[in-house]
Amino acid sequence: MVRRKRLLLGILVAVIALLPSLAACQAGDAEPQKLVYGLTLIPSGIDPHIHASSELGIPLSNVYDTLVYLDPETGEFVPGLATEWSVSEDGLVYTFTLRKGVVFHDGTRFDAQAVKFNLDRVVDPATGSQKARYMLGKLDRVEVVGDHSVTIRLAAPYAPLLDSLSQVYLGMASPAAVDKWGKAEYQFHQVGTGPFKFVEYIPGDHLTLARNPKYKWGPELLRQVDSSVDEIEFRFYEDPSTRTIALESEQAQIMGEIPPQDAGRIDQAAGLALHPVAIPGQPLQFFFNLSRPPTDELAVRRALMYATDRETIVETIFGSWSPVASGPLSRVTLGYVSDFEGRYLHDVSRAQELLEEAGWMDSDGDRMREKDQRQLVIELYHMGWGMVPEVVQMIENDWAAVGAQVNAHLVSYPAALEAARAGDHNVIPFNLFGTDPAQLGSFYTSGGGFNFSHVQDAELDELLGLAAASQDLPQRLELYRQAQTKIMEQALVLPIRDYVNLNASSSRVQGLRFDARGWFPLLSEVQLED
């Protein structure tokens, strides 16, 4: 009896062991090529017209085409779904000629009506767009001129419009699919015209894309090759320490945001490749709050800047992969100026001098400064991601060395935003990414949505306002240079490091490139070698 059971068990084991190879035999050469791409956080929603997450663009910029594209090599706008465009003299009217013969994944035809439908959807308050609608400036209306011609009219000039239209947040979705599924459900059934079709999204588990065999209208940077992968499954690796391990064990072939301490190992590993991509936008930076003592004093802000040993912080935490930041924009951003590279270099005695001149003394010998019975205490609110807690520890150490005590509060993202709006903080880290310097507007103007410095400066408001409206590039850049100079002179922000996204892949992955924004992969050409 026992023996027969053993025999049965043996057969069972053998059958199970053989099953995969049997299946493989049947599929033969036609077996679809599949790739696993590791994402780093679970977005709260993935409809690019509605949600603001950067993570959603990683898969979806391969599902949607945009009217224009920004070429990462040249920095020029190139045709996408629009073959030609023109801007009126006053910067208010943009006219686009659309590509013919483009079809959405569900078979709907792409035309001028579809463009109007998409932009109307974005600005409709009922859509509740968190990001896309703010990328359109003061949109007046969208007019269908002909079957393949469309006009966007603005109420005020808005220079970054083309940049906006080249991003996935203003990607073109199938009107039929949007109508069919409705606002809440559409994000699970997205339909675009891009090189990959949206197959399935199970929040927190996976998102699958399949190759769009009909894709012929892509720009040069999104061209498809015959051997490109058939299917891409995106999975979530929220814990940074698991990402490298997932690559090494071949659970995933591409991975974003590798922790810097693992990058060196990947760079040297035989079967792996590191792809560092510099991200345009703002560096990792800490805003000083001007509305709360003691950071309302310019001398204190400047002293804290001098007290911070940025070189050592970056070297210690980010290794050699990120450059030290010097101003409000990172090196690879339009409008970056190198004027501040030698400014605010680590200088403890300068910091101490500044504080003493401002009346901050250590009179009771506790190595912490005080003035008018008040201790020099800095309330610092921060989030737990992106090595920020590590940076905060080093800042605490640096500032204590000049007699400033830091009260660090580790809080959730919503709590941090709340603290920043209420002005409970002296210092808070925050930044956005983007290729256009127009982003400075929401951080440094009095009414800006991310005015975490609580700065009220008429001159700065005017400079940034003019710059955002200007159509003349050299003039724009000059205005942004002046604005940045003012920001750094007023010591509104402490820049730490330029972001460099450390992507990694198996060396079998070929043809992986990234878009002009650095975050989003261009996957149409990606192949998996055996």
């Binding site: 320490s241 922790p259 210690t316 905060v392 520890q393 080093m394 605490e396 660090a408």
Partner: protein
């Protein structure tokens, strides 16, 4: 209970061994800060992530801080938080449990329903909730961990008090007209002290674990202040490159909790009449 017999049993069980280990850990954490060579907060960019060696016995962390010094200072804080938490648990638990067990009826009903509600939450969740209300920091953490331990502890005291309540000596004390306070403090309390001590010891291990877990999640003191949990969290990112960063606090927590739990177990054997002669 005659003293020589008790001491003999104490010797035969392993309670002494584990007790000594617990004492050693506590002593090291208490006096260590005066013994270790390095400042636990001092960052040094020239000695980052050094493996264990002659100058840094347990190596250094990513900021170049000496891990041994941080471990010792961290032990002081972590064990301090756990100790304070156990005091809160024992104090409140004894009070509630004795009242409940002695009086029974409506008092018992009222206290035990509150205890039931608290027991319905998983421990760590309750701690996180309390920390969210009280704010982060060592004191808040000790209070949160302490309060979270109260329900189970008061349950234990209650059942011990209830069975002791029916003993002849208690009834006799009541019959000769002792006042309630005297009955509770002189007759009930000494007779339930065994299980209380044993459980409090185990509770101490539980408190170390939870205090560490909470600081691991970043809800203790600021991360520059050494705590075992936050040290472990820091080391997590360097698991492959520098395993010693997380190994030291990890082993410290394991050793502390293990020895405290073993001591608690042995004490329970020692005090529990049913287990008294087994394995001793």
């Amino acid at each position: 209970m005659r003293a020589p017999a008790f001491l003999g049993r104490l010797w035969r069980t392993r309670a002494l061994l584990w007790g000594l280990l617990v004492a050693a850990i506590a002593l090291l954490s208490l006096c260590g800060p005066w013994v270790v060579a390095h400042d636990p907060m001092a960052m040094d960019s020239t000695s980052q992530l050094l493996p264990p060696g002659r100058h840094h016995w347990l190596g250094t962390d990513p900021f170049g801080r000496d891990i041994l010094s941080r471990l010792v200072w961290g032990g002081r804080r972590t064990l301090g938080v756990a100790g304070a938490a156990v005091l809160i648990t024992v104090g409140a638990g004894l009070l509630l449990g004795l009242l409940s067990g002695y009086f029974g009826g409506a008092v018992d009903e009222a206290i035990m329903r509150v205890v039931d509600v608290m027991l319905a939450f998983p421990g760590l969740l309750l701690i996180l909730g309390l920390v969210a209300v009280l704010g982060a920091g060592s004191k808040a953490l000790a209070v949160a961990v302490g309060i979270t331990g109260v329900p189970a502890f008061s349950r234990l005291v209650r059942s011990a008090a209830m069975s002791a309540r029916e003993e002849l000596y208690v009834l006799a004390a009541l019959a000769v007209g002792c006042r309630r306070r005297r009955v509770i403090t002189r007759h009930l309390l000494p007779n339930i002290v065994g299980p209380v001590v044993a459980f409090a010891t185990v509770q101490f291990g539980w408190a170390i674990l939870n205090a560490s877990a909470t600081s691991f999640l970043g809800l203790g003191e600021s991360p520059s202040v050494p705590e075992w949990g936050s040290m472990l969290n820091l080391g997590r990112g360097y698991l492959r490159a520098a395993p010693w960063v997380s190994a030291a606090p990890g082993l410290a927590i394991t050793l502390a909790v293990l020895s405290v739990n073993m001591l608690g177990d042995e004490l329970r054997r020692l005090f529990d009449p049913a287990l008294r002669w087994q394995g001793a």
